[in-house]
């Protein structure tokens, strides 16, 4: 399967995403430059973590106007799979491809730690190899990961199943103590209402090899690969890919 990893000025985890997908997962990976408009036939576009444009103004606010984001918006509108990790998640919310916004952690500090996540919806392209209630361990490292959305929107998202991952403790309970950044409803990852765009603050690409932070991140990428291997999905998702 062909993946495209976008590089914005200030992206940091693009190389880790490329290494993880290519060397660990054996995928065909194409780095994509933010000034290009072509997605080079990617079947899934990855917006990696980092500090695009130095996080100036707001995280992701400038990157969303990069030339490649027009192609990403079109690709997403045509059903293409897009995953935004950390800063990538922030960019997708700023681009209105995902609901809500990410604000300063309630502790005001940059957090770098291992968290536990509960799968809330396993019927998505990003979680289809997991089961609801599965607990995944992954690292987070961010200063602005507090997820915020209007109450009305949160209720709709809950109803539709757009809340994909929540911060939980090791028992799987979404306690306040297990919520690292103060996110509303302990939200760690959300999808759009057509479930082809996914954003999450934790880093699956940093949890691919057992020796380093465990290998639970594989489940996210394996789900995307499994979803994309179904010919009907593939045909549909090819539309708009350039």
């Amino acid at each position: 399967m062909r993946w495209g990893v976008i590089r914005f000025p200030g992206s940091l985890d693009d190389l880790d995403a490329i290494y993880g997908l290519r060397d660990v997962m054996g995928q065909d990976v194409q780095p994509l430059w933010h000034k290009d408009e072509s997605l080079h036939g990617a079947e899934c576009v990855v917006l990696p973590g980092g500090f695009s444009y130095g996080d100036h103004l707001r995280c992701g606010a400038i990157a969303r106007f990069s030339p490649i984001m027009k192609s990403v918006a079109k690709f997403a509108a045509d059903g293409g799979l897009v995953i935004g990790i950390c800063n990538g998640f922030q960019i997708l919310t700023e681009a209105h491809l995902l609901p809500g916004a990410l604000t300063r952690n309630r502790t005001l500090s940059f957090i770098c730690e291992r968290v536990h996540l509960r799968v809330e919806n396993a019927k998505t392209p990003f979680t289809c190899t997991t089961r609801p209630g599965d607990i995944l361990a992954m690292p987070i490292k961010h200063g602005e990961g507090c997820y915020v959305a209007p109450e009305k929107e949160l209720l709709q998202m809950e109803e539709r199943g757009q809340i994909i991952l929540r911060y939980v403790d090791t028992n799987g309970d979404a306690t306040d103590a297990a919520n690292p950044n103060g996110s509303m409803r302990s939200i760690a990852g959300v999808a759009n209402d057509s479930f082809n765009v996914f954003g999450l603050m934790p880093h699956p690409e940093h949890a691919l090899e057992g020796e380093l932070f465990g290998a639970d991140g594989r489940k996210i990428f394996e789900s995307i690969i499994a979803f994309q291997s179904v010919p009907e999905h593939r045909g549909q998702l090819r539309v708009g890919t350039k």
């Binding site: 103004l57 916004a101 309630r106 005001l108 915020v148 209007p150 109450e151 306040d176 409803r185």
Partner: protein, 104 residues
């Protein structure tokens, strides 16, 4: 024409910076300080023939880039007149959740 833009966290949105400064002011002995909010102040010059043109342009800039309508309100001043009073947007709340610092 010079435009002064004020971007502030929307009411109901957790503003941990404001909270921290509020605590700091209290510990300095300033009693009765509440509702500290920290926002962003942006100045810029717009080439425009009329104030109306500048106003329309500044309004678009705020909506598209300078403020995030999900979490922030904005207002701006041109030549001493104030515009862009935030629309009455829905206040995000999270029922039953307390926005307290973990370390108190």
């Amino acid at each position: 024409m010079q435009v002064k833009v004020f971007v502030t966290p929307r009411k109901g949105i957790l503003d941990p910076q404001g909270r921290t400064v509020e605590h700091a002011l209290a510990s300095l002995g300033f009693a009765g300080v509440s509702d500290v909010k920290i926002g962003r102040y942006i100045t810029l010059n717009i080439e425009a023939k009329t104030p109306d043109e500048a106003r329309a342009s500044a309004s678009k800039m705020c909506e598209q880039l300078l403020a995030n309508p999900n979490i922030e309100d904005f207002r701006f001043e041109i030549d001493g007149s104030e515009y862009g009073t935030p629309k009455t947007a829905e206040v995000p709340t999270d029922r039953g959740r307390k926005f307290d610092f973990r370390d108190g």
